[in-house]
């Protein structure tokens, strides 16, 4: 009897719990942090100053930031200096007086904006620097580690050269660009460990595909036994690849480069054999990290300049193995939707 009573009682209790449970849930439970978060974002202005629009990196960042921030009532503004450093400095200066909550800055070089960015943070504006940092360390840096890119590209080329001529060439970007100088440092770091490698040419092609092609053609004619080339940007190294292809050396000269990982500029070109390795700093991920940082900074109540940190991008090495996959590259058209 006792046992059956116990069972009965338990069932009754469970039944009661089943009735009262939904009633409690209908009252709801306030999550105490989401309203302050929304209040911290709504009506705030985020200003974006890339070096120029109209190329895969800056268009990708723009699309992701817009998509992430505008639903929260953030006003997202853009100033496009179109490769003009002076126009960029003017845009940053005028933004400081307009006092947006956050400035997202893509530096053309290390020095030009440095003082301005410091002033902006002193005036209470968070500064997030992307891909190309300045001499001033601001609240956040989101971007590729150029030294790492130089090192990994060079290591791949050195590896491909094993048992071959050990002659390599380096196609640099523009001399004034920090990204190019940092990458070159990475190249030097690796070469210091490999004295057997001989650099037969190290020239700047000014991020220009036709200049890269001209240099590569001449170098290949002088050194037909070249075993590898370290290129500094996939947009420029289309020219490098075209020169290798014309010389009939595709597959014999290992070409390592880097870029934003847009499908047409990266995966397609790895697939057709133009590039052997393309280190991608996956632009949509960078965009999402920036958006996350902006949300965190605005909702944290921190004072601009009081916290400083870096988010270096985890690189995706694109090779023949993963160039076909859906996730290795991204489509600008899809990101813009």
């Amino acid at each position: 009897m006792r046992a059956s009573n116990l069972v009965f009682g338990t069932i009754a209790l469970l039944g009661a719990a089943a009735f009262t449970g939904p009633a409690l849930a209908q009252q709801g439970l306030d999550e105490p942090f989401q309203k302050p978060f929304r209040d911290a974002l709504v009506g705030k202005t985020v200003a974006y100053v890339p070096v120029a629009m109209n190329f895969d990196l800056t268009e990708g960042w723009y699309a992701v930031l817009k998509k992430e921030l505008e639903p929260y009532g953030v006003k997202f503004e853009i100033r496009d200096p179109n490769w003009n450093t002076n126009a960029g400095a003017q845009a940053v200066t005028s933004l400081i007086s307009e006092k947006p909550a956050v400035m997202v800055i893509h530096n053309p070089d290390v020095q030009t904006y440095a003082k301005l960015l410091q002033r902006a943070e002193n005036e209470g504006i968070f500064v997030i620097q992307i891909n190309m940092g300045s001499a001033y360390r601001s609240s956040a840096f989101v971007g590729a580690n150029w030294i790492e890119i130089g090192e990994r590209d060079t290591e791949a080329v050195v590896k491909a050269c094993q048992g071959k001529s050990n002659k390599i060439a380096v196609i640099q970007g523009a001399l004034s660009a920090a990204a190019s100088a940092y990458t070159l440092k990475g190249v030097e770091n690796v070469l210091a460990k490999h004295p057997e490698i001989k650099v037969v040419s190290s020239q700047a092609a000014d991020w220009d595909a036709s200049k890269a092609k001209a240099i590569t053609q001449t170098v290949l004619k002088q050194n037909p036994d070249l075993c590898g080339i370290v290129g500094f940007w996939d947009g420029m190294d289309i020219g490098t690849a075209a020169a290798i292809k014309e010389a009939g050396l595709t597959g014999k000269v290992f070409l390592a480069t880097s870029g934003g990982g847009e499908r047409k500029g990266a995966c397609e070109l790895v697939k057709n054999g133009s590039f052997d390795l393309n280190l991608s700093y996956d632009v949509p991920t960078q965009g999402a990290q920036m958006a996350g940082t902006i949300k965190w900074l605005l909702s944290s109540g921190a004072k601009p300049g009081s916290v400083k940190g870096s988010e270096y991008t985890t690189l995706i090495p694109i090779t023949k193995d993963n160039a076909d996959s859906q996730t290795a590259c991204w489509n600008l058209a899809d990101v813009k939707k």
């Binding site: 190329f55 053609q217 001449t218 004619k221 020219g239």
Partner: protein
């Protein structure tokens, strides 16, 4: 006694010969057939642009919109094919765009009488801006599958000679025939030498000026197609580069005076060869970028100063409109 007069053309040719001999003797791997072809291949597009600029400069004008003509219409072709249009249709559309650019330039200069320097500066900016704002999705317009086969215009070789050199040669022949064998060519020289006298003798000066700019835009379009085919993409940002100075340099260094009516295709070839030799030699020597600019500047100064010493300008030799 007849005094031998050395014009700028001869001086530049001498500088080129000197440079060429020095490189041939001291630079291993310079004087090989392969390297000679590479040298030419690297400056073929510059040479084609030089031809376009030469036509305009001979007609006493200047075309600063040439780089826009190089970048935008071929970019339109690549973009349209990428968007799924047919290749012939895209080529025709871009060709019409080039002709329109030439017509607008010509009309502004010949009929509205705007100085060519300002007119083409403005139209060039306009066309480049139009491309950036409305026509292209990205600065670098990529090659797409619909273009396959067309890359042969700038890659590979015909009878062992790289295609871009063949294209430069074809462009040279066409322009030589046009300038030296046709009435239009003679009119261009006449208009460039003395526009007022040309008009008095009954030459239709204004239509001839329009013709010059249409030709320049079309040759620029052709150069752009060769460039795009050779690097399998169209980097439209090339408009922001200093390429236009190199083009003017090729023309002026070759000996086509900016005062008009002088020079021809040979001058463009000489100017192109000099630039090509310098670039190739310095690449083989692995001279850093800054050093290259220094050397380029020095050689140019040398050529110009020698010219001024040997052919001093005075009131008789200086022409009106000389820059």
């Amino acid at each position: 006694m007849k005094r031998i007069r050395l014009g700028q053309q001869e001086i530049v040719f001498a500088v080129f010969t000197l440079l060429f001999l020095t490189f041939s003797i001291f630079l291993r791997g310079f004087l090989t057939p392969e390297n000679m072809l590479t040298l030419l291949q690297n400056v073929a597009v510059l040479g084609i642009l030089g031809l376009a600029m030469a036509i305009v400069v001979i007609g006493r004008g200047i075309d600063l919109s040439l780089i826009a003509a190089l970048a935008v219409p071929p970019g339109v072709v690549l973009q349209m094919v990428q968007n799924g249009h047919s290749l012939p249709g895209s080529l025709a559309t871009a060709c019409l765009l080039s002709i329109a650019l030439g017509l607008v330039n010509g009309w502004l200069i010949a009929y509205a009488e705007v100085p060519s320097l300002f007119a083409t500066l403005a139209t060039g900016l306009l066309v480049a801006g139009l491309g950036q704002a409305a026509l292209f999705q990205l600065d670098v317009v990529q090659w797409s599958d619909g273009m396959s086969g067309f890359e042969r215009l700038g890659q590979g070789s015909i009878l062992g000679i790289p295609t871009s050199i063949v294209m430069f040669a074809i462009a040279c022949v066409v322009v030589v025939v046009l300038l030296r064998q046709t009435r239009w060519g003679a009119y261009i020289y006449a208009v460039g030498d003395n526009p007022n006298a040309a008009r008095v003798t009954g030459i239709p000066t204004r239509p001839i000026i329009v013709l010059q700019y249409v030709l320049a835009a079309l040759i620029g379009y052709f150069a752009g197609l060769v460039l795009a085919a050779s690097v399998s993409s169209m980097p439209t940002r090339i408009f922001n580069s200093t390429l236009i100075y190199d083009v003017i340099l090729v023309v002026v260094l070759g000996g086509i005076g900016l005062s008009g009516g002088r020079g021809g295709v040979v001058n463009v070839i000489i100017g192109t060869l000099l630039i090509g030799t310098m670039l190739n030699g310095m690449t083989i020597m692995d001279v850093p970028f800054a050093g290259q600019n220094l050397i380029k500047g020095l050689v140019l100064l040398l050529a110009v100063i020698t010219d001024t010493f040997l052919n001093p300008r005075n009131e008789e030799t200086a022409q009106q409109g000389d820059i």
